[in-house]
């Protein structure tokens, strides 16, 4: 994306487009990657409530995966996942095969 000149942007740091965080991909910031196991998941959605980046993907009220384009790897989802379930495991990004 071409970065704009000072003549082209709103003054004072104002951002005019609401909800544009979606277009700003923060996934590359990640050191640890949450790995979700759909077999273990009970779809309690504790991770979805707690995720600060809205990176838990749902369909029809059930978890279907993680949005790695935005997940920063904070690990809150793995922490919030009930201990008896442990459906999310944090792994070092470089150790995970894509």
């Amino acid at each position: 994306m071409r970065e704009k000149s000072w003549r082209e942007i709103p003054i004072g740091g104002i951002i005019e487009d609401a909800g544009n965080a979606e277009t700003y991909e923060t996934g590359s910031w990640r050191t640890y990657r949450p790995i979700w196991d759909p077999e273990k998941c009970i779809h309690c959605l504790a991770c979805w409530i707690a995720c600060p980046d809205s990176a838990i993907l749902l369909e029809d009220g059930k978890m279907i995966g993680i949005d790695y384009a935005h997940c920063k790897g904070c690990g809150i989802c793995a922490f919030e996942c009930p201990d008896k379930i442990s459906a999310i495991e944090m792994k070092i990004e470089t150790d995970v095969n894509d």
């Binding site: 970065e3 709103p10 003054i11 004072g12 609401a18």
Partner: protein, 392 residues
């Protein structure tokens, strides 16, 4: 129709605020500003204004609340002095950076310590790089006029920067003077209504205010601020001319008093200019070619007017009422030297005076002019400072 009033400088500022009737006024008391907001609070209590007055627990909160209200699209004012301004510091920068046209009378007072409540310019000179426009006032009349003009300057779409209207603590703030004020209708028509481009409360066109701004765009936003400040020079002049047509009192970036043919010129800001004018008149009557260059707008700095005002000068005495510790001379002196750089051979002499409210008299200023006569043609080192009224 003008109304002739007898008011202190604080009450003159409050009178202008009554007529402006801002949407929001945030307030925390500090000497010598306290009576200003005390007076405005009376207007609120008496129902003379509709302004929402927000009483907060510190100046940091006063400026924060002002920033919040201005972001919501309100016309906002507050006022402070010295240590209060220092406590606001962080948010003073943010008000300018977020391009919020807040107008704030600042009653000049020495910064602690040792603790002192009287006038010098250490408070506002210390924040000359915050991005605020700074208008210095010579007397209560100018306080009133500058506050009314400040609104139009700050809110001009080519500027959109906050404005400090400064005046000397106690010397102006607590001294009763005669001044002419506009009638309420003229004042209301003059300031008109403020319509902000953005508003936190506009849910139809939501926007983000004060976001993180890193290596990719922070520099561009600073460039925009520079442009706004550059534009302010023309706007201050045009507003000053328009105000002259309305009130009979026109204003510019400076007041060049008897400088056209002057051999010796004193440069000063604030109430000292009134004292200096008396000396200039006396010495002119004696046949001396002396003049005063009064800086009204210190930010933006009036380069063109300085050059015009000092064009004939053989020697210039720059009066600083604050210290820039470790720097060669006071803040005004440094900027005068920079403005004159490469333009001629006028001798520039720096005088430090009036710290902590130390009085400056007619005799002091006459002595400066007499000293300038003896120093003309000599080279004065930039870091040589002379002290007025200091015990040796």
């Amino acid at each position: 129709m003008a109304r002739r009033l007898t008011l202190t400088g604080n009450d003159a500022a409050a009178e202008a605020m009554r007529q402006i009737d801002p949407d929001v006024v945030t307030c925390f008391p500090i000497t010598p500003q306290t009576e200003l907001m005390h007076k405005f609070a009376e207007f609120v209590a008496d129902g003379d204004v509709k302004a929402e007055m927000v009483l907060v627990e510190s100046e940091h909160s006063a400026m924060s609340a002002a920033v919040g209200a201005a972001s919501a699209g309100a016309r906002v004012m507050t006022a402070t002095s010295a240590n209060g301004l220092a406590l606001m510091w962080e948010i003073v920068y943010i008000a300018a950076s977020n391009r919020l046209p807040i107008v704030m009378p600042v009653v000049n007072r020495a910064l602690s310590g040792p603790i002192n409540i009287h006038c010098d310019h250490s408070d506002t000179m210390g924040c000359r790089d915050t991005g605020w426009i700074q208008l210095y006032s010579e007397n209560a009349q100018e306080v009133y006029d500058n506050v009314l003009q400040g609104i139009l300057i700050a809110e001009n779409p080519e500027v959109l920067l906050p404005v400090m209207v400064t005046f000397d603590g106690f010397i102006i703030s607590h001294t009763v003077e005669v001044l002419d004020a506009l009638d309420d209708k003229d004042a209301r028509d003059w300031v008109g209504d403020y319509k902000s481009t953005y508003s936190l409360l506009n849910t139809d066109e939501p926007a983000t205010f004060g976001p993180l701004d890193l290596q990719d765009y922070y520099f561009e936003h600073k460039r925009q601020q520079i442009e706004g400040m550059n534009n302010a020079t023309g706007v201050i002049k045009s507003v000053g001319e328009a105000y002259g047509k309305l009130s009979g009192r026109a204003y510019g970036m400076t007041e060049n008093y008897m400088t056209d043919d002057a051999d010796y010129v004193v440069v000063a800001l604030g109430s000292t200019c009134g004292t200096a004018k008396v000396v200039v008149d006396e010495m002119r009557a004696e046949g001396k070619r002396v003049g005063l260059l009064k800086i009204r707008s210190f930010r933006p700095f009036p380069h063109a007017e300085i050059l015009a005002g000092l064009a004939s000068a053989k020697a210039v005495g720059v009066l600083d009422r604050s210290v820039s510790f470790g720097a060669p001379g006071g803040p005004v002196h440094k900027e005068i030297l920079a403005a004159l750089s490469g333009t001629g051979d006028a001798t520039v002499v720096n005088y430090l005076y009036g710290l902590g409210g130390r009085d400056i008299s007619l005799d002091h200023i006459r002595t400066v002019f007499e000293e300038l006569e003896t120093l003309a043609g000599k080279t004065i080192p930039a870091d040589e400072v002379r002290f007025i009224g200091l015990r040796g």
